[in-house]
Amino acid sequence: MNILSIKDLHATVDGKEILKGINLEMGAGEVHAIMGPNGSGKSTLSYVLSGRDGYEVTKGEVLYKGENLMKMLPEERAQAGVFLAFQYPVEIPGVPTVTFLKQAMNSVRKARGEKELDAFEFKKIMDARLKELSIVNDMVRRALNTGFSGGEKKRMEVLQMAMLEPSLAILDETDSGLDIDALKTVADGVNALRAEDRSMLVITHYQRLLDYIVPDHVHVLSAGRIILSGDKSLALELEEKGYADIVAAAA
């Protein structure tokens, strides 16, 4: 059974149709890249999958591990193992990152019928992840994302992914706003999390992220539909020719 199965997905935002029939199958452990020009529906797809209010599915279905994902609340999807690394991580002033992480982890554990972690157990896990990702302790003591640089925010997303251990991670334009050094650091973190039981949907505008996070499959999204699919060489082709040519050729 595929981890994610999207069939003829249509979705609207404010009554305007943005997704116009998406089909996508993702197997366990696979990394798929979705590329496309601005306005093609990339971010809409990530929000529809994670259940944000205001994104209405009008047709089609999405199965996650065989379950109807669209029927679940956003928190239920997260608890079931769907993780969205945000393009613009949100600042929550006054809430220490460590408090947030602990509550998130325990909410997920509780929903899965696992024992909640106490402060010591939690710290042990967090410290191990911080070390693996070379993140300094200081960052988790600060208020969540508040005053973080662009690079720090994205690293925080990777840390959260490492701690919540999702089965499906959606990375929404993780490369946006990062300089090349920060991009490498974040990509290293993501690569370290690649696993047989973890699928990743990497959404990006530019090919350069895919130099570091090498996908198994590449899909081109245009005007709410996947118009072309291929292997990693498709990304390079896109880089060379630009979206306009590819879109025109596929149409």
Binding site: S50, A78, I92, G94, S107, L164
Partner: protein, 486 residues
């Protein structure tokens, strides 16, 4: 009666909104309904008070008759009929007042257990909490714990009615010295009919070894509660004091008009924390406590008074804990979280009156409005002519949840000294859908997410609370906001 009690409790649990909405069935001793000189005399006689105190009460009462209810606050409620309330209600067993905790009515001890107050010292000694507690039930102080331990340091901590009997010189000297009987309508009313409260005296140079705490509970129906608290910290002493309040769930409104006076002598420090959780009324604004409170402290040289309040309950809150910074180099602080939900109304803030040189004050006020509630910060900072080098910093932040509530900030700033500095910052924000979605995407359910965000917003204030109570206060934030999202 037990069946009735059980029903009320079950209903309370089913609605799961206000956790303290139970009633304790105890035989009550009451003054006749209404307010007159006779009522005042009745109360004074019940308390076996000295003549001077009766006169003091009567003078306050006569003055009260000439006063009108203040209407300047941004709160609205139907006129209060002051004759339609009981001014004295005491558990009947008070006639032969309990001499030790063993003699306290078990129903009462039960009530306190429900409230999570470990009255029994054994429990406290067993490490539940290192806090001395004075518990006031309706009009009467029921029991004070840890008295013996405190007496070793010369600390007096008892019911004010007891202090009147045993330490009349201290009470006579200080009561009314910070909040005069004629101060305002509610303070005058309180002075006339106050029934009990807590008294605390910390001798020179003594650092009080534990938190002192008073729990107030209104139980009887149609009863007003008028407690009076007086804390005197002698030179160079330190005390941290916490009060908590709860009341049963009732359809009618109940009046609570307390007076708290703090006296911090040279180099003394008083930290006064309040967790106010009176019954706020139901979703449609039916019932709830009218909380009209006067709290004020005076600082002598280099003294410090710090007020911290977490106001989540009451249908109406009218409350401005203040500092008179009389002594040079004295410090006043006010940290406040006021949460209103449904149809609650809060008009709260502080007054910092800078009189001495180089006096400093700091105000951090956080208002959270949800449902159809209205929350107002009202604060005064006054720099007198002699307050050379005085400084104030004020920060008022309002957080709105939903689009039917309101937040208002009304600062009054007055400076008569060129060298004094006053800073005021204010912000208003909304809990954003982005923040809620972000938390939910990490697996945190919506209501918990809201609690987390609001606690973050209040953090600066909550961390001022004594450790034992900070956790409770955080939970209270969540309970107060139940039903405000989704």
């Amino acid at each position: 009666m037990a069946a009735v009690l059980e029903t009320i409790e079950t209903v309370g649990e089913a609605t799961d909104k206000y956790k303290h909405g139970f009633v304790t069935e105890i035989e009550m001793d009451r003054a006749p309904k209404g307010l007159s000189e006779d009522t005042v005399r009745f109360i004074s006689a019940k308390k076996n008070e000295p003549e001077w105190l009766l006169e003091w009460r009567l003078e306050a009462y006569r003055h009260w008759l000439t006063m009108t209810e203040p209407m300047w606050a941004r709160v609205g409620y139907p006129p209060i009929d002051y004759q339609d309330s009981y001014y004295y209600a005491a558990p009947k067993s008070d006639a032969d007042r309990p001499k030790s905790l063993d003699e306290v009515d078990p129903a009462l001890l039960d009530t306190y257990a429900k409230l999570g107050i470990p009255l029994k010292e054994q429990e406290v000694l067993a490490g539940v909490r290192n806090v001395a507690i004075d518990a006031v039930f309706d009009s009467v102080s029921v029991a004070t714990t840890f008295k013996d331990r405190l007496e070793k340091d010369g600390i007096i901590f008892c019911a004010i009615s007891e202090a009147i009997q045993n330490h009349p010189e201290l009470v006579k000297k200080y009561m009314g010295s910070v909040v005069p009987t004629s101060d305002n309508f509610y303070a005058a009313l309180n002075s006339a009919v106050f029934t009990d409260g807590s008294f605390c005296y910390i001798p020179k140079g003594v650092r009080c070894p534990m938190e002192l705490s008073t729990y107030f509970r209104i139980n009887a129906a149609e009863t007003g509660q008028f407690e009076r608290t007086l804390i005197v910290a002698d030179e160079g002493s330190y005390v941290s004091y916490l009060e908590g309040c709860t009341a049963p769930q009732r359809d009618e409104n109940q009046l609570h008009a307390a007076v708290v006076e703090l006296i911090a002598m040279d180099d003394a420090e008083i930290k006064y924390s309040t967790v106010q959780n009176w019954y706020p009324g139901d979703e449609d604004g039916k019932g709830g406590i009218y909380n009209f409170v006067t709290k004020r402290g005076i600082c002598e040289k280099r003294a410090k008074i710090s007020w911290t309040q977490v106001e989540t309950g009451s249908a109406i809150t009218w409350k401005y804990p203040s500092c008179i910074l009389k002594g040079d180099d004295s410090v006043g602080e006010f940290y406040s979280v006021a949460i209103t939900n449904n149809r609650q109304q809060a008009d709260t803030g502080t007054k910092m009156l800078h009189i001495g040189k180089n006096t400093r004050s700091r105000i951090i006020a956080k208002g959270i409005s949800a449902g159809k509630s209205q929350s107002t910060y009202r604060g005064q900072v006054r720099m007198n002519a002699m307050a050379h080098g005085a400084r104030n910093y004020t920060q008022c932040d309002s957080l709105l949840i939903g689009d039917e509530c309101g937040a208002h900030t009304v600062p009054y700033i007055e400076s008569k000294n060129q060298s004094a500095r006053v800073e005021h910052e204010a912000t208003t924000s909304k809990v954003s859908d982005d923040q809620l979605f972000y938390c939910r995407q990490r697996g945190i359910p919506e209501e918990e997410a809201l609690t987390l965000i609001v606690n973050g917003f209040c953090r600066e204030v909550l961390q001022e609370l004594p450790m034992e109570f900070a956790v409770e206060a955080q939970k209270l934030v969540g309970i107060s906001l139940e039903g405000s999202v989704g």
